[in-house]
Subunit: 397 residues, 2 copies
């Protein structure tokens, strides 16, 4: 099983139909993906290649899963469907482009192993999403019931004994664990050299430790109603920026054996763009068009999310406008009507917080692009990462 690796990634020209005009987070992720397609990916479609690698990995586990029997196979198939149907493969795209930018050869013998190692990021992400959906009590994801809801429904439909919701959560906890364990298996069996394994080991470790920390801070800040900009910024940094852009780029650099100078440039670029990406998301969470974001209007306000946008609004209100401060504190995390949402939006805008955040995004992107331009990344990757950065952060709502 180990060493020999699972079957090589198949070539496929498929690339799902994506409407690049949609302007939600999902659409921005699509744009990032499309921006990677010209980066030395042969065959052309990186997302399809990532999915093939994931599919092959799941196939490689089948005998083991079947040996356990008793419905395990069906449960694992639910996980596989979840992993294969969704997501824009943003993390593998950044890791792959990071590798290319550090001199990786998309036509060379390392390309297959590197692609598989990059694809393993999607299994970490599967764990993060499945477990996050339990934590956030989310009922749908990517247009389907979340994993815990799906198993709760199975339980209910079968009139099984015990509590359906609790059963669904139990299965989802275990399947998330499996995805996390398999992420490690996939990277270990990717076929990369022992030297490359040793290089990526601390990056891989840091990435998982950081994202779990970011998720912890997220629920902890929300529970404690932490109002500080710092606290919100830390969540952006570790739950989004490090995990989505900085560490994937770092992983790609480490796979290629890049020097410290390039690693450092990638990390600064990735942190800035990652935070800007999340700030843009925060704006969409309050101001995004429901028809575009797929979420109810002002969803973040109702959910009580402690975003940087909200923290900045509060800070300004506390300094200048006690009535606005009271409005914000009383509204956040409650079941707001559409007109309440409108009032809060107007308040946030009037306080100047939107302009503040826009300015921050602009500064972060400028800074990131300068860092990138001055770096030793290949010119092909520079161009690509610039497009990906712009796609991730542009104002389009």
């Amino acid at each position: 099983m180990a060493g020999s690796g699972y079957p090589a990634t198949r070539e496929s020209a498929h690339y799902g139909g994506v409407d690049a005009c949609r302007r939600s987070r999902r659409a921005r992720e699509n744009s990032i993906l499309e921006a990677t397609l010209s980066v030395g990916t042969r065959p052309a479609a990186l997302a399809a290649e990532v999915e093939n690698a994931l599919r092959d990995f799941f196939t490689s586990r089948q005998d083991l899963v079947d040996s356990v029997g008793g419905g395990y196979r069906e449960a694992v198939t639910t996980l596989e469907d979840f992993v294969l149907r969704g997501g824009k493969r943003v993390r593998p795209a950044f890791a792959w482009t990071g590798w290319i930018g550090a001199g990786g050869d998309a036509r060379g013998p390392d390309a297959g192993p590197v692609l598989r190692a990059c694809s393993a990021l999607e299994l970490v992400q599967a764990c993060a999403l499945v477990h996050d959906d339990i934590i956030d009590a989310s009922t749908t994801r990517r247009g389907f019931p979340t994993v815990h809801v799906e198993f709760a429904e199975q339980h209910r439909a079968g009139a099984w004994s015990g509590d359906s919701a609790h059963f669904g959560e139990g299965v989802a906890i275990l399947l998330g664990d499996l995805a996390l364990a398999w992420a490690d298996d996939m990277i270990r069996e990717s076929g990369i050299t022992p030297e490359a394994s040793a290089r990526i080991s601390p990056v891989w470790s840091a990435m998982r430790t950081e994202v779990l920390g970011g998720q912890f801070l997220d629920i902890s800040n929300e529970a404690r109603a932490d109002e500080s900009i710092d606290a919100a910024m830390k969540v952006n940094r570790y739950k989004t920026a490090a995990y989505t852009i900085e560490r994937p780029l770092h992983l790609g650099a480490a796979l290629a054996g890049a020097d410290e100078t390039l690693v450092s440039a990638y990390r600064r670029f990735g942190t800035d763009i990652g935070i800007a990406f999340q700030l843009r998301d925060d704006l969409l969470g309050v101001f995004g068009d429901p028809a575009v974001t797929g979420k109810p209007s002002g969803d973040d306000l109702r959910a009580g999310k402690r975003t940087v946008l909200f923290a900045m609004s509060l800070q300004r209100a506390d300094a200048d406008d006690p009535a606005a401060a009271r409005l914000l504190r009383e509204g956040i995390g409650t079941d707001l009507s559409d007109s309440d949402v409108d009032t809060l939006r107007t308040t946030i805008t009037s306080l100047g917080a939107v302009a503040d955040v826009e300015k921050q995004i602009e500064d972060l992107v400028q800074n990131a692009l300068s860092t990138l331009a001055a770096s030793t990344a290949t010119s092909e990757a520079k161009q690509q990462l610039t497009e990906m950065a712009v796609a991730a952060t542009r104002r389009d709502y």
Copy 2:
């Protein structure tokens, strides 16, 4: 971080005071542990060495955790306390003894790396326990509140916003994930050779895939009220036997580069003893003395556990005694009084199921010991594993 490994394990003579006369599962685990102490462990106490290795590993993550900040450190300390205060280190003990039996040299240069790799099993176990406690809605573990209960209490004490129980579960999900991710980090950074890493990779993968499968079958059988002996036996095999004894021994053998003959003997021995261990536990779950097991009398009956003992009772009752079958089906998983428990116990015994299970244990142990005796393990390890097997399965309630 990688490659260089975290600091070498300290030597320490400490070994916690254990009352070997106690006869619960915990006491049997203690006996297994004591049986390993003379196996070429210098310094003497394997458990203390495992704990030192774990402590050093936690220390090695501190900077990374601190960089995230915001209460993450305190949450991780809760996980560390959980890992360090408890457990009998049964899995590391079998892995270590498996390594010794395959020619590993406890005084040689590989001993430190191997000890660290074996100790990583305790982090997988930490994830399994923390997540299992959520799934089973358990409130105490090792005399302390379970992790999800501890964080729910923190939430309640702080009068934080949102639901306390849900917050506790969220944090416990994340900390279990962290333990699982760190188990991989610990084994990868243990300092074992790339060749040893390649050898253990499929074992490590199988072990985690199997135990998650066993946990899945466990909740699925219970929900579906599966009455078959086969279903209960599969849980024993994958949730207990493979995970606790077979795969740890296999891991030790793979670390030493043992040949297929020894690996096969270890695996057969481990499967038989592991199943016998769980069958003994099933008997204790119904007949164990609460003063000894630390659980209410007949706890497994109230909890609705679908054990082999229960499945055998039902099978015999269905064949010969419809009234007994009704009694069993109506009683299982309900809030039984002590006298109800007595009645069910008498029924199970009268049906001959206890004698059946005792006979199975005896046969499994005999079979395992013959396999071991005929194996190529070192005579020192044979003696040790025999003692560990007997300690794990003997009738002492």
